[in-house]
């Protein structure tokens, strides 16, 4: 083989068939333009025993891309499978490797959830990029056989006041809302974090949760020789195939590359029909195997289905319904047109399958059948254009153990102690700090964003933003429900990737537990810079190690996730951002603990220990623009204990409210609880903490604020004492403080000597987003 080389004239004007590939080994192929390395191309030739056809090249190039093959991350991600308790994970029904993992939540119910990134498309075209991100993750959940229940959207943007953020953020938010609202899935949570490193590289992650009965779980495999392969949903167009046009242009069009959009446009209405249609065909028992069409379109769906099944499949590519009749076979194979699914159906079920599609006005066509050839063969109007072993496309791509190096600046960062930064001491300074903190973009009210999302549709949303976790009811009879949170303080990860990953996990775990749900499983979206940068790669490896260790310690498995590399602009990589999603189960959603406290007289407790932990804190970021020091260590045994107490407290009616303490410390937690309930409170520092600023803004992990009715105080504190969890009495709900503090008729928050009305806080908290992004 002699890959590359421009001496040989390219093909022109004729179909590149397998026969032709055999007889013209010397033809130069544009593998480099398609992102393949010379040795990767050589390996393809070796697998096939000849040069690939241009269609085969299209398939290999897209399936062996970083995005689809996980070639840089695979060696590390293995830990998620390897680090597991003896006897495996009891709650896991389907593990990593399928479209999404599935966990048992009891009563015959199973839940699946997963988070994915759509970062780059959302930078190019914020609305459509974000919209299709939602669409893609929903199809992953659907393809497991689950009814999608809710979505969440962890987002990261450049500085809040940067002009580009004003372009990107409103578009992303409108896209997520536009798609999710039209699809009829409630948006129950997410994150919005600003940091300079995300300028030019926003993160748009999307999470979906779905539920099904155990017997309804479906997998992506093409079983049963003679079964039919059906492609249904939207027609195939030229979406997202900008890259492969090099093939089309060389092969088919002497006049230069055809105009192909690299932007995918979503049609949420079609996706809604696809959901209902898919659930109907699944429940009617008409489907042997099912797969969504995501990143690599038909290439991915056919090779994965074949690879997971009997190993053989034959496809008539010319049967694919096209939106754009000028598409070449290579382009059809790589098209990323949205809202398509692929199902394997027995011949005697095909008519019933087609009837259901017709009822939902969804177009469907049989494109092929399952064979026992061990090969994936594809024809184009009778000519063979693909003949490959499917495993080599789908599962046996290249794997790299890339060089790693500990970032050279880590020691200097650690030495730059955040605890040495000047803190406010006087009541006046503390008050000013409080108002500035609640108005800072990362801590300010996000309702400008979340009010653009439907949180009510489907009628099962029990908790949604701004609560710690989103919670939806699964079973209306029993009240069984699930809670999900996503979190990541990327500054912690930057300062100490191993601990930072555990802290992200701990925070997400804690957010779920404080609602009263028992954490069960983990998904993650690992957003990083270039894997070819050894410092990024080292950080990535440390994060995966930390997450895998943390999951083992907490007793919850990683069930799936996504890796997004190359999140960097010319000079900066993003903060390493492993977004961690934790799923929990609650037997009766009536027992949940919301964030808002109840009536007068209830007692406020701070659970856990407060230390001087300002490294990576929001306070250091907002007040000093500082990132340095040694972040707190994650104490996962303590997190488990805290979770046990929060769950028992909710279940047994000892708590009226609970709120996790994280970004912005206790001050932020108290402010959010007060704003949510509209009732004031008096709060004081526990004896353990003498410095008010530490009490208010330190970000020691393993803490939560809980509110206990007086009648339950004895029982609750006895439980904490018996289990060894520090519970500090730090305040009381008090609607009458205004009169004592000179604000008659107003609700007032008193923290130590600082007095501020809820109206003042609310004004500061609410004004930021409208001021930045318009009313």
């Amino acid at each position: 083989m002699r890959p590359g080389g421009s001496a040989t004239p390219p093909l022109s004007g004729c179909l590149d068939t397998v026969d032709r590939a055999e007889s013209t080994p010397e033809v130069a192929q544009p593998y480099a333009e398609l992102g393949l390395k010379p040795d990767e191309y050589a390996r393809i030739c070796e697998i096939l025993g000849r040069r690939p056809t241009s269609s085969e090249l299209a398939m290999y190039s897209v399936m062996w891309s970083e995005h689809c093959s996980y070639k840089s991350s695979k060696v590390h991600l293995r830990q998620f499978g390897d680090k597991q308790p003896e006897g495996g994970w009891p709650q896991l029904l389907v593990g990593i490797g399928e479209n999404a993992g599935v966990v048992d939540v009891g009563d015959g119910w199973a839940v699946t959830f997963k988070v994915e990134s759509h970062n780059h498309p959302s930078y190019v075209e914020p609305y459509q990029g974000a919209a299709t991100g939602i669409g893609g993750i929903v199809r992953d959940i659907l393809s497991m056989g689950a009814r999608p229940l809710a979505v969440m959207d962890p987002l990261r943007f450049g500085p809040a006041d940067a002009p580009d953020t004003r372009r990107v953020l409103p578009g992303v938010v409108a896209g997520i809302g536009g798609y999710g609202n039209c699809l009829g899935l409630p948006n129950i949570g997410g994150e919005i974090v600003f940091d300079a490193t995300y300028a030019g590289n926003p993160l748009v992650n999307a999470l979906c949760i779905g539920a099904m009965r155990h017997e309804d779980i479906h997998l992506a495999s093409a079983k049963g020789v003679g079964n039919l392969v059906v492609l249904y949903g939207a027609r195939t167009g030229g979406d997202g195939i900008g890259g492969v046009s090099v093939l089309a242009s060389e092969t088919f069009d002497a006049d230069g590359p055809a105009k192909r959009p690299s932007v995918q446009v979503g049609d949420p209405f079609m996706e809604k029909l696809l959901i209902e249609c898919t659930l109907d065909v699944l429940h009617a028992g008409l489907v042997e195997g099912i797969q969504d069409l995501g990143g690599a379109g038909i290439s991915c769906a056919t090779s994965e289905l074949a690879s997971n099944g009997e190993g053989g499949m034959h496809v008539h590519l010319d049967r694919v319904l096209l939106r754009d009749p000028t598409l070449s076979p290579e382009e059809i194979l790589m098209s990323e047109s949205q809202e398509r699914m692929c199902a394997v159906v027995t011949p005697d079920h095909i008519d019933a399958f087609m009837d259901i599609c017709r009822m939902w006005e969804v177009e469907a066509v049989v494109i092929g059948e399952v064979t026992d050839s061990g090969r994936l063969t594809i024809d184009w109007h009778g000519d063979r254009i693909v003949d490959v072993p499917p495993r080599t496309v789908a599962h046996e791509g290249p794997v790299y153990d890339r060089p790693m190096h500990r970032p050279r600046d880590l020691d200097a960062l650690a030495a730059d102690d955040a605890n040495a930064l000047a803190r406010p001491h006087t009541a006046e300074d503390i008050r000013a700090t409080l108002l500035r903190m609640v108005a800072s973009p990362n801590l300010a009210s996000k309702s400008w964003v979340t009010s653009q999302y439907d949180r009510y549709v489907l009628g099962n949303t029990v908790l949604a933003q701004p609560e710690d976790a989103g919670m939806v009811r699964i079973d209306e009879e029993s009240g069984l429900g699930v809670a999900v949170s996503t979190d990541c303080n990327a500054r912690f990860v930057r300062l100490d990737p191993y601990e930072g990953a555990k802290l992200a996990l701990a925070e997400s775990y804690r957010n779920v537990a404080v609602t009263g749900a028992r954490p069960l499983a983990v998904t993650n979206c690992l957003n990083f810079g270039s894997p070819e940068d050894p410092e990024v790669m080292w950080t990535f490896a440390e994060v995966v190690r930390g997450l895998a260790d943390g999951c083992l310690e907490l007793g919850i498995p990683v069930t799936g996730g996504n890796v997004s590399f190359y999140n960097s602009t010319a000079d900066t990589a993003i903060l390493p951002t492993p977004v961690v999603g934790v799923l929990g189960v609650i037997d009766d959603v009536e027992r949940r603990s919301p964030m808002a406290w109840g009536p007068d007289g209830e007692i406020i407790y701070l659970l856990g220990d407060t230390r001087e932990d300002f490294a990576g804190s929001e306070w250091a970021h907002v007040m000093h623009g500082h990132l340095g020091g040694v972040p707190p260590r994650a104490d996962l045994a303590r997190e488990r204990l805290l979770a046990d107490i929060a769950i028992a407290g909710s279940r047994d009616g000892m708590l009226t409210a609970a709120h996790d303490v994280a970004d912005g410390g206790v001050a932020q937690a108290i402010v959010e609880m007060a704003l949510r309930s509209g009732v004031g409170a008096r709060v004081w520092a526990p004896d353990q903490v003498t410095d008010m600023a530490t009490f208010l803004w330190s970000e020691s992990p393993g803490r939560a604020v809980v509110v206990v009715p007086r009648s339950e105080e004895m029982r609750f504190t006895a439980m904490c004492a018996a289990r060894g969890l520090p519970a500090h009495r730090i305040g009381a709900v008090d609607s009458g403080l205004g009169a004592d503090t000179g604000y008659a008729d107003q609700q007032v928050l008193q923290m130590g000597d600082v007095v501020v009305t809820l109206a003042q806080i609310r004004e500061a908290h609410d004004a930021t987003f409208p001021a930045l992004f318009g009313a």
Binding site: K259, V265, S337
Partner: protein, 83 residues
């Protein structure tokens, strides 16, 4: 007063779900003979004075940057006399 009309349409290669929905409705309503429907936006801009080069240059910039999204749409701009 003179009027400028800007028409913004999705580029032909971009999926137009709205146009497709209209097509579907045509079929259900027994309207035949239609091969394709695309839906776009029309802006009618009434000027205060004459369509000078400067004014038109400004409007072209707006058509390009604000009224259309060049990633997925294209526009045409023309001066009309308002009736």
């Amino acid at each position: 007063m003179p009027r400028v009309v800007v028409d913004v349409m999705l580029k032909p290669e971009i999926l137009d779900p709205q146009g497709r929905a209209v097509m579907g409705a045509f079929a259900r309503l027994d309207v035949h003979g239609v091969a394709d429907v695309r839906q776009g936006k029309r802006f009618e801009i009434t000027l205060e004075g004459e369509p000078t080069d400067e004014v038109l240059a400004g409007l072209h910039r707006m058509a390009e940057e604000l009224l259309s999204n060049p990633v997925i749409e294209s526009y045409t701009l023309r001066v009309e006399d308002a009736q």
